[in-house]
Amino acid sequence: MKYFIFTFFLLVNIGLIIVLDTRKVLPLPLGKFLSVQEGIWRNAEPVDKNFNEDVKVTGLNGKVDVYFDERLVPHIFAEQENDAFFVQGYIHAKFRLWQMEFQTHAAAGRVSEIVGDKAINFDKTQRRTGMVFAAENALYAIEQDPASKAAVDAYTAGINSFINTLNTADLPIEYKLLGYKPEKWTNLKTALFTKQMTNNLAGYDRDFEFTNALKVLGEENFRILYSDLPDSLYPVIPKGTQYKANDIALNIPATADSLYFKRTDTIQIAEEYKPNPANGSNNWVVSGTRTKSGKPILANDPHLGLTLPAIWYEIQIKTPEYNSYGVSFPGIPGVVIGFNDSIAFGFTNAGRDVKDYYQIQFKDDSREEYLFNNKWEKANQRIERIGIKDSKDVFDTVSYTVFGPVTYDKSFKTALTDNQSYALRWVAHDTSNILKMWLLLNRAKNYDDYLNAIKYFNVPGQNMMFASKSGDIALWQQANFPLRWKDQGLFVMPGIDSSYMWHGYIPQEQNPHSLNPEQGFLSSANQRAADSTYPYFIPGSYEVYRAITINRKLNEMYNVTAEDMQSLQNNNYNVFAEEARPILLQYVDKSILSQDELKYLTLVENWNLQNDPNEKGTVCFIAWWDSLHANVFSDDLNMGEIPLIKPEKFVLLEALEKDSAFKFVDDKRTPEIETLVMQVTSALKKASTQLDSLEKENKLEWGKFKNTTVYHLLKTNAMAFARPGLLNGGGNGIINASQHDHGPSWRMVIEMTTPTNAYGVYPGGQSGNPGSKFYDNFIDKWTKGEYYKLWVMNDNDIQDKNVKWKMSFTSN
C-alpha cells in the first residue's frame, strides 16, 4: 500500500511538472511561464523604473553617454561615429530585441522555426522570392565599402553585447510565450531587414493577374480597366516640367505580338503573401516663401502596417560630425526619417514596378537545365532547409536562372503545368548598399550632399523629400528603375532568350526630380511620378486621391506654420467621394427604394465628405460605391476562377464621368441590358442589406466600423498585446491614411528654423515590452492627431530637466 501511495504521488508529481514545464498538454508551459523568478512576472517593469546604468562593454573606442527623456527617447552622445552605432545597436536590442529577430526571421523565411508548420508556405515563398539571396548580395556590397562595413560591424557588436547580458528571466516576453531563445545578431540580419522593407515597398506586383486579365478581356479592354494614368492625375513632378528626350533605342521583340500580347494560357498562381498595396506615404515640403517663419517646413507620414512593437524607434545621434534626430528601424544603424542641424529628409514609396516574371522552359523535372538563347543552360540550384518547430526539417530546391530565382513551378504551386515555371527578375536582388545613403544623409549639410547620398539607393523606389536650413527644397524619385519598352513587364514575359530582358536602368539623372520649383512646394503621395510627357515607360501601383487633396490644399496655403502642417496630415477630406457621389445621386432611381434604402441615401446626400469617426455617410458611401464596382465588373471578371485583380476605383469613376453608357455597365450574364440607373439603384439595395446589419451592431459610424487596431506582430495570436478599438478618422485615399490596421506609422513635421522646430508621433511606444508603460503610451496622442514636440538635446543640456535617466557606456 505504501509503495502504491508513493508511486501514485510520484507519478502525479512528475506528471504535473511535465504539464507545467512543456507544451505537450497545455498550449503554454504555465509553471515556467508564470514563475515569479523566471516567467512573465519578470517582464512587468516597475512604472517608476530607473533606467540609469553604467554599462561596460567590449568594442568601444571612446565614451558614449545616452540620455533618456521622459518619453524614453535616447539621445546618444558619442565621441566616435561608429561607437554611436554600437550603442544604437545595444539600445535597439535592449528595447526591441524580439521584433528585430522576428522580422529578420520572417525576411529569411524562418518563421516555421518559431511557430511551426503553419508558416511553411510563407517561408517557402520568402526563400523562393530570393530574400536571402538578395540580402547576401546586399551584404557583399556593404562589406566592400569600409565605412559601411565599420558602421554595420559596430551596430551588430552592440546588439550582441546586449544579447550576451541576457539570462532566461530577462528574455522579452514573446520568447517566453513562444518558447525559444534569441540567437546572435549578424550583419546579414541587418541586410535581411532592408530586404524585408524592400519587399513591403517594392514587392507588390500584378504580372500574373494582368496576364490573366489580358487573356480574359483582350488587349483593348485590358487597357481600359488597368490604366495607370488617370485624367485627374496630379503627378509628383509638377505638370509642365520639361523632360529631356529619351535617346536610348528600345527594341520591341519580334515575337511581342504573338507571344506577349496574345497569350493563350492562364496562370493559376494566387499569391498569398502579397505586400499590402496601401504601403505608401505622404510627404511634402513648403518653401520659405510660403511659411510664416520664412524657413521651409517638411512633413512626412509613412503608411505601413500598424504594429506593436512599432516599426519605428525614435532616437537622437550626436557625434563630432553631425547631430541627427528622427526615427530609426530597429535592425539597421542610423536615423531613417528625420533631420540634422542643416537638412531634413523624408520618404514616400514610388510604387513603381521593379519586379517581372519570365516563363522558363526546363529540360525536365529536375529543373537543372533551362532553355536560354538556343542552349540548355545550367541553373544554380539552391537547397533551402526550412526548420520547423517540433517537427522535421523540410527541404525545397530553388533553381536560379539568368533572370533570378524560379519562384513558381509545379513543385510549389501544384495547379501549374509542366511548362509553367516562372523566374523572378527583381531589382532587390541586385548587389547594392542602400545603407550608405542613410549614413551619408545623417551627415549631409546641403542639397549637394543629399544628391550624392541618394545615388547609392537602388531599391525600393522612393520619393525623397529634402529641405535645408539654407532654404532649398527638393524631391527626387530615386532608385534603379528598369528601362523598358512600352508595356514591357506588365505581363509575364517569355524567358527562353534574352530578347525580353530589361535594357538596364533609366539613367539616374533622368529620374523624376524637382529643385526649388516656382510653386513653392513639393509633395508626393504614391501617385504616378510624372504625367505622360515623361519619356519612359513607368508602370506601377499608384494612388490617385491623396495627392489631389494635398496639392489643392498646399496651393492655397501661405504663412504656413508647423501647426498647419500637422492639421493637414490629419485631414479627413474624401476627394474621391467629392467626385463619385454626384454619380450615385444622379443615377439612383428613388422611386423604387424602401424606407431603409432612402435613409441610407439621405445619409450619403447629407454627408459633409469628411471621413470623421462619427460620420455615417462615409460608411454608406463606401458600401454603395463598392457594391456598384462589383455590379459593373463582376460579370466581366469572374474573380473566383482564375487569379485576377479588381480595377482601381478611379477607372470606374472616370469612365462613368465621361460616359454613363460605359460598356462594362451591362451585366453580360443577363439577357436584358442593364443601364447605369439600374446598376446604381441595385448597388444601393445590396449595400443596404449590409448597412442594416452594421446598424444593428452599432457600427454605422465610420470610426466604429473601421475599428482602428494596432496589432501585435503576432496578429490575432496575441490580442492581449494589441490595441483595438481606436476611434479615429481617415481611410484609403484620405491624407490621414489611417485604415483598420494600416496607416501613418510616424507623423513628422520639421520646420527648418534655428533651433529646429520639430514635431512627431507614432502609434506605439519606445519599449517593445508589453509589460512596460512605454509600450503603447504614444497611441492615444496619435489617435487624436496630436504631436510631441521633439527635443533636440545639446551638449550643454546635460543638467536639463528633460533628462530623466542616463546610461554611460565605457570599454572594459
Binding site: K2, Y3, I5, F6, F9, L10, V12, N13, L16, I17, L20, D21, L28, L30, G31, K32, F33, L34, S35, V36, Q37, E38, G39, I40, W41, R42, N43, A44, E45, P46, V47, D48, T168, I173, L177, A718, M719, A720, F721, P770, G771, S772, K773, Y775
Partner: protein
C-alpha cells in the same frame, strides 16, 4: 505546529534560493526536502509546502504587479485566463506554485515513510 512552521519557512527559503540559480521547477525540490526530513502527517506536509510557495509566489507576484500598475497582469490574464483580472492571475500563479510544491511534499513524505519502515 512548530514542525509545520519550520517546514513552511524552510520550503519558502529553499524555493527562493534555488530559484535564483535553478529553473522554476526547483520549487518542487524545495517542497521535497523539508517534507522528507521533518515528520508530519501527509496533509500537513502538503499544506506547509503549499502555503510556503503560495505565499512566496503570491506575495512576490503582488509586489511586482503593484509596482507595474498591473499593466502586464491585465494583458496576461486576458491571454491565460481569458478574463481581464490581474488579481485572479496573481491568485492563479500562487495556486500553481503551491500545488507543485505541495504535491512534491506529499511524494517526499510518502517516500520517507516507505524507507523508514
Amino acid at each position: 505546529m512548530k514542525k509545520f512552521i519550520v517546514s513552511l519557512v524552510a520550503t519558502g527559503l529553499l524555493a527562493f534560493a534555488m530559484g535564483l540559480v535553478l529553473p522554476w521547477w526547483s520549487i518542487s525540490i524545495a517542497g521535497f526536502i523539508p517534507a522528507f526530513l521533518i515528520p508530519q502527517k501527509r496533509y500537513f506536509s502538503f499544506l506547509s509546502a503549499f502555503f510556503a510557495v503560495f505565499i512566496f509566489w503570491g506575495s512576490f507576484a503582488t509586489f511586482i504587479s503593484v509596482a507595474n500598475d498591473h499593466i502586464l497582469a491585465h494583458r496576461i490574464s486576458i491571454l491565460v485566463l481569458k478574463k481581464d483580472d490581474p488579481n485572479l492571475l496573481i491568485l492563479f500563479t500562487a495556486l500553481l506554485g503551491g500545488l507543485v510544491a505541495g504535491i512534491s511534499a506529499v511524494t517526499s513524505r510518502s517516500l520517507s515513510i516507505l524507507i523508514r519502515k
